[in-house]
Subunit: 266 residues, 2 copies
């Protein structure tokens, strides 16, 4: 089984990704983001995103109730259904499902967040983000066995029944490990993990569990999260994790040919 996670960046070429995803034979699952579109919508609705910095320095989107409404509109609505439509046109019996549907993905709500504003520590309440705890694998097998290809996105469901925004790289990771997938492919707006973020030719071709901690020295921002997700994915038994370019033609084939970064146990 192959899990493909496509990021929601502005320059990701979704038609290229979906065309190539459609060609994968065997069971497959697509996980997608929607960050750029969500920012566009929230600006158009004059409710711009509020980015916060945690006490450990991590940046994330503060997701209040209105932001969650917009999140549902973009992720589970427009992007998810446009992807399903595009895959259906190519003969893939795609089935869009968010983490709340049938309790597909469950997690813990953070509730209040300690963060830093203008250098001062503050506690924010009313946040609908959280961690992922479990994936309803029976539901995914039910769909896959019946010939459907799941197209998955947030929100997920808290144990109290609240819709939560979660990290989609971790969502893909949890789905890959829970489903005991063979491969997990991350497609985003870079040719792979770069040794020098300014130099697109500095792609790290292969990483093993032995060398992965060293890469954390130059992996920056969201790439650091992806590397940690990849490490855990491999430790949990997935054979290969790929970081590859989602802006080019045939991005899945190129990833599998090793044109980006390949992470393996050894």
């Amino acid at each position: 089984m192959i899990i493909v996670k496509v990021g929601g960046g502005e320059t990701v070429n979704m038609p290229f990704v979906l065309e190539d995803f459609a060609r994968i034979s065997g069971p497959k699952i697509l996980v997608h983001g929607g960050n750029f579109e969500l920012n566009s919508l929230s600006k158009a609705l004059q409710y711009p995103p509020k980015m916060i910095t945690s006490s450990t320095g991590q940046k994330s989107r503060f997701t209040d109730e209105k932001t969650m409404d917009m999140f549902m509109m973009v992720y589970a609505g427009k992007i998810n259904k446009r992807i399903v439509e595009c895959l259906q046109k190519q003969g893939v019996n795609a089935f869009g499902v968010s983490g709340v549907d049938g309790g597909l993905v469950r997690g813990k709500r953070r509730g209040s967040i300690r963060c830093v504003e203008d250098g001062k520590p503050v506690v924010l309440h009313g946040d609908f983000t959280g961690s992922i705890e479990e994936v309803n694998v029976e539901l995914l097998h039910l769909l896959l066995d019946a010939g459907y290809t799941p197209v998955i996105t947030s929100p997920i469901l808290s144990y109290e029944g609240d819709a939560l925004n979660v990290d989609h790289d971790k969502l893909a990771m949890q789905i890959a490990t829970s489903m005991k997938a063979d491969k997990l492919i991350y497609l985003f707006e870079a040719p792979g993990l770069l040794q020098d973020v300014q130099d697109p030719t500095s792609v790290v071709k292969t990483i093993s569990l032995k060398t992965i901690d060293q890469t954390l020295e130059y992996a920056q921002g969201r790439m650091k999260k992806k590397v940690l997700a990849a490490k855990w994915t491999i430790e949990e038994g997935v054979e290969e994790v790929y970081f590859s370019d989602g802006r080019v033609e045939n991005p899945v084939q190129k990833a599998l040919r090793g044109e980006g970064t390949v992470i393996r146990k050894v």
Copy 2:
């Protein structure tokens, strides 16, 4: 099996509807609209709805590509996922699914529309609306048998793979007849079918197939469509169709007690 269709009007009380829907025992399916919210979003995004009048005098929303994007945001996104969240909180294992997912509902795209603008006949192209032809009952049984409660909305999928906006009263009707449901309940912004639209006490209590054509004389606008849908639903073997008030507490129980309009074969 009971199918409940809740309209997307401004004054429909969704918490009341969902609380009561949650109490229905046995297999059930919810079909929902989202008209008021879609109008609000399209105004906020400065892309107001374009209402057209067909050559036969029927009013409908012209659904171009951008309108379909907003349609997906509101119907399949925010409203569908907020309903799922609310039902999950009440212990119902709700599963949101649009007509495109797994080809749940298939239909024919109209494509171009003959309509009347300023009294003159015109043909509009690029419309993504259509008729409903078939419901994937295997998929609904798959979900129901596994313990999930489907929460269904548009868009549906054309045979060419395009997402289509369809009439939700007809969608509920098609689901009820295809699933051989026992009862179909329409909840909306009126106490039932009114003999005099100005007089909320003029509810027609019971209608049979013998008397239904007479009601078309006073059923106005969208109520005419609902009456025709009800007629066809009963003819296809569903025992009872209810028209009842979606603005009040316990709207499902009240409908079943006959507080609105009940339509039966005899």
